[in-house]
């Protein structure tokens, strides 16, 4: 990279708050997307993802906090054709053909887009004469992606681009995305499919009820749920010290330990060793071993009651 001053990030959100009446949809959110970075914006329905993206795209204004896109006000960056967006369901005219739709949006750009190249990228050449209203969900999403790519944007924003698509169409869409976005542009996409986030993003940002819950690389998020859960019953267990003493040989592998009466729950990176030890050296019975999926991590992260949970 040249040693000039670092360019403004693709998206910089700080302290964003947005309410609808009494409902606080987004609550003091901070989020930065660097140039060329692919960030997944993850959260359950109603977490505030779309509300945040609406502000990033200049559709609505923040109640408090600041949002800049590529160093500019959001509406300005959009007006200059520097941002492309794939919106949620709807948003196209069913009576136009695919070709007409592309031509209309292309003609409204500042510079003349290379429509044919975008058609090739998004594999739409076989559909051009079809009316948009007659296209399948997956095809419509590819049209939306094509529209978003027309201005050659520096930032691409996608709001749950695969909602309502079947598994094959989803895989197909991301395959197209991968080809179409190999040029290293910044991408911010909202989703509630964790696997999509893990497969496609450099970084995952998880929000719940308008607040940031986790922010890190895919590996870091996975590490939040690292290890395997081992559960057992230990009749007559006196407490956690006794358990820790028994497990001293594998102490280095333990991530969390909790004891509820006779019920023991551990998270460990060496489940086999812990299990062997528990079954041979202690009176523990009813042993259970379960792997923690990324979904479990996600569920755990968003399940915490923000009002009730004291600082750990």
């Amino acid at each position: 990279m040249a040693s000039t001053t670092a360019p403004e990030p693709a998206v910089r959100i700080s302290g964003l708050t947005k309410s609808f009446g009494p409902l606080v949809a987004v609550d003091r959110l901070d989020l930065t997307v660097a140039r060329g970075e692919v960030v997944a914006f993850l959260g359950p329905n109603g977490a505030g993802k779309s509300t945040t993206l609406d502000v990033v795209l200049g559709f609505s204004r923040a109640d408090a906090g600041t949002v800049t896109v590529l160093g500019d006000a959001p509406a300005r960056a959009v007006r200059d054709g520097r941002v492309g967006a794939v919106l949620q369901a709807g948003g196209l005219l069913p009576d136009l053909t695919v070709r007409q739709t592309l031509d209309v949006v292309a003609s409204l750009q500042c510079s003349t887009p290379d429509v044919e190249a975008v058609i090739a990228q998004t594999r739409l050449s076989g559909l051009l004469r079809r009316k948009v209203g007659k296209c399948s969900g997956g095809e419509v999403q590819r049209i939306r992606l094509a529209l978003a790519l027309l201005p050659r944007p520096e930032l691409l924003v996608l709001d749950e681009p695969t909602t309502g698509m079947d598994v094959t169409a989803r895989a197909d869409f991301w395959e197209t995305m991968r080809e179409a976005t190999a040029q290293g542009r910044a991408i911010l996409f909202a989703t509630h499919y964790l696997t999509e986030a893990a497969d496609f993003a450099d970084r995952i940002v998880i929000i719940d009820r308008g607040r940031l819950v986790a922010d890190g690389s895919v590996d870091e998020i996975r590490a939040l749920g690292e290890g395997t859960t081992v559960t057992a019953s230990w009749p007559g267990l006196s407490g956690e010290p006794e358990l820790r003493e028994a497990l001293a040989p594998v102490a280095g592998s333990l991530l969390t330990v909790s004891v509820h009466g006779e019920h023991v729950e551990l998270r460990t990176t060496a489940a086999d060793d812990v299990a062997r030890l528990l079954l041979t050296a202690t009176p523990a019975v009813h042993l259970g071993i379960s792997a923690l999926s990324l979904d479990d991590v996600f569920t755990e992260l968003v399940a915490q009651e923000p009002d009730a949970a004291p600082a750990p």
Partner: protein, 264 residues
């Protein structure tokens, strides 16, 4: 206009206007309500009546009726074209438009241009029908002036009206409300039959009156025909009506701007 420093060129509205106008003209409901209905009304009241040949200034009654029906057809066509924006916006197209450099402003301009172009179809057909069924005017300039006055100001006024209704009312209702209201405005605006007394006094303040009175002015001059009488009217009366209503509808439409990018 804002300056575009980082990009070259500007959005071009021609492509979208052409595609949208053609799509709208091919819609069956537009053909029936904006072409066939006003044409039929002209042929019935204008061409086929005994009084059609009577002289009313620089033309005959058939010509005057022809112009009134042309104004009505423009009002319907422009309103329905622009109100169609409501349906498109309800589908989220406003958000897609707002994402382009042309923006919401470009979209609204396209809809207004489209309203004028689509409206040209019924006016042209009604004028051609008039030419062959006894409408007479004294000179070519009277034909040309009547044609332009029936088309341009009326299309602009009712394009704004259609947008205002389209943006403020729910999509399913908007087109119906817009279309039906034009029939009422047409009646109150002295288009269908000469009014009298209180109705005329009231009608002068309704949106279509100015457009109709202006368009028949090349033929009738200052004279306005009432049911049982004729009155003289200064130019400023229809002109003020026209400008005031256009401004009002434009402002009501502008006030709805934020509604175009709402999630629905």
């Amino acid at each position: 206009m804002t300056t575009l420093t980082t990009t070259s060129g500007r959005p071009r509205l021609g492509t979208y206007t052409r595609i949208d106008a053609l799509t709208t003209l091919k819609r069956a409901d537009m053909i029936v309500f904006t072409l066939l209905l006003p044409l039929g009304m002209y042929l019935f009241w204008g061409a086929m009546q005994d009084y059609s040949g009577l002289d009313v200034g620089r033309g005959n009654i058939a010509a005057s009726t022809m112009v009134n029906m042309a104004v009505f057809s423009v009002a319907v066509a422009a309103t329905c074209t622009a109100a169609g924006a409501a349906v498109e916006l309800a589908g989220g197209w406003g958000r897609q438009m707002a994402l382009t450099p042309a923006g919401t402003r470009g979209y609204v301009l396209v809809k207004l241009l489209c309203a004028v172009i689509v409206s040209a179809a019924p006016v042209t057909i009604i004028f051609i029908a008039g030419l062959f069924t006894g409408a007479e005017m004294d000179a070519f300039w009277v034909w040309a002036a009547s044609y332009l006055l029936a088309l341009a100001p009326t299309a602009l006024l009712f394009g704004c009206y259609g947008l205002a209704v389209g943006l403020w009312f729910p999509a399913q209702g908007a087109v119906g409300i817009a279309g039906t209201s034009i029939a009422l405005f047409g009646f109150l605006g002295n288009l269908f039959m000469p009014l009298d007394g209180t109705l005329f006094a009231l009608g002068r303040f309704t949106p279509i009156y100015g457009a109709g009175a202006l368009a028949t002015r090349p033929i009738q001059g200052d004279t306005v025909a009432l049911m049982s009488d004729v009155v003289d009217e200064a130019l400023w009366v229809p002109l003020t009506n026209m400008i005031a209503w256009t401004l009002l509808f434009a402002l009501v439409g502008l006030a709805a701007r934020r509604r175009t990018t709402r999630r629905r």
